[in-house]
Chain length 289, copies 2
């Protein structure tokens, strides 16, 4: 059975609608996406459907978070398929603004995540996280969600968004949700559509690297340099894969650990595969000590 | 007769209070200040009292908007006097947070006004406007005002705040209010407390410069270079005064006009007077053609 699903493209209409809900004290669950929805997104949408009275999904490929040589122009936009998936989950509203409505010509004001926005993925993608924060901030202001749902796959993004909400007193609960993986371990991502079957097999090395590090830590290995070498070796030996970084970070600060893993932490990974397009993949996993 | 005036120092308590008002559909008028209230502030407070059901004044000397060599540490803080004035106008709440509650140690996320934040006053005070925008944004998130009142004395600040609200869809009406002046023409400012009687007389040259330029434009003068020279001459000839800048700017964009004044515009002025402290004064006026 299909549910009605309202498509709203006007930001001011979206803001009016959410204001009506808020004044009626209805809770609003929100999932910001760039479309090309997969099981990862669907898990967030289903959680919102369980937890809140109104569910809004935004579909907006945000130009501000793409670098000049990145895939903004070729980013997949299967809107009809996305709409169908939203209907199946019972989403109330798809917010689907145009770039020129979202960022009018005179647009100037941005959000700056500062130090952490320049680390890890921010190093190879300058401006990326500030672009994410700016779009998410605007979406939050239009939708005023009680809860917003983010996948842990974008772990640094999730941390920066929590930081923004805390610093700016945005009254939205940020709900982190676990990474959803393909059967071979590859983390679900809209960018996986760029990969052929063989590349998808090779890209699963990120998951294997995380699992191997987790196993090594369980066996008592704790030197970050050794564990880093293990992850790098597993990733760089997979055909076509090139590691960009591997970082062991503190869960509370997302700052790098020192020589030893002494606390619960996260292993953050980024790697590249293929040419035309050169696809950038990220993954991460919990490292328990 | 005195009115009750609640003093709130906790940001979360302020946010809960304004949420209660909003759910009861009460309009909230807000005047952000750094305290040391004068007739300029009082005119904003009285306008809020007329226009909205609840009136909140914040008193917070915002460290983020001061440069390293500026007057953060000596900024006057006559709280009891400010409280008395708020009571007389009938302010409902004074929001008076501590710096460590407003910016906890791990604070990171800031607002960036970008290009315009670096011009004019932003040139000699790098980071100043981003510091203002960040504090005002947090205050708006805590208080969620229907209307916020700003004096035109800080004309560039007013423009950047309007820009922020427009860009980030903050649903607060920004109400600009005219400059209030001493009888000699000196624009009211908390920083005037740094001046002695003689300096106050000399500082009135900013107002005389604006009036003289307005008179010259009425007589048909339109060359910005000539009018600039007139303003500079009047300011720099006043004892102890040193002009920092004079800019003729377009009212819609706040960008500098070209060779001729061809449209309604604003003359923005900044100057310095005295030593220990060296006091920075700004003023501005409408230039009608």
């Amino acid at each position: 059975m299909e549910n009605a699903c309202l498509i709203v493209s006007s930001p001011s209409k979206m803001q009016r609608l959410s204001k009506q809900w808020t004044l009626k004290k209805q809770t609003i669950g929100f999932i910001p996406t760039m479309g090309c929805l997969h099981e990862g997104h669907l898990s967030l949408m289903r959680q919102a459907r369980k937890q809140t009275q109104k569910v809004v999904v935004s579909i907006f490929v945000n130009p501000l978070q793409f670098g000049r040589n990145e895939d903004f122009k070729i980013y997949p936009k299967p809107f009809e398929q996305d709409l169908q998936l939203c209907k199946e989950v019972g989403v109330d509203v798809i917010f689907h603004p145009t770039v020129s409505d979202f960022y009018p010509r005179q647009f100037q004001t941005t959000i700056d995540g500062n130090a952490l926005a320049k680390k890890y993925c921010g190093r190879s993608r300058p401006g990326h996280f500030n672009g994410v924060l700016t779009a998410v901030h605007i979406l939050f202001e239009l939708i005023r969600p009680s809860s917003a749902f983010f996948g842990e796959k974008d772990f640094q993004q999730l941390f920066l968004i929590k930081q923004m909400c805390r610093d700016l007193w945005i009254p939205t609960e940020i709900v982190p949700m676990p990474i959803i993986r393909e059967s071979n371990g590859l983390a679900m991502s809209s960018r996986n559509t760029y990969l052929n079957a063989e590349q998808k097999e090779n890209a699963a090395c990120l998951f294997h690297a995380i699992s191997s590090v987790q196993a090594a830590v369980k066996k008592g290995y704790a030197k970050t340099a050794e564990l880093h070498a293990l992850a790098a070796s597993l990733i760089n030996h997979a055909p076509g894969m090139e590691m960009e970084y591997a970082h062991f970070v503190d869960l509370k600060t997302l700052l790098p650990l020192g020589d030893n893993i002494h606390t619960s932490s996260r292993l953050l990974l980024a790697a590249h595969i293929g040419e035309n397009p050169r696809v950038r993949l990220i993954d991460n996993g919990h490292i328990a000590v």
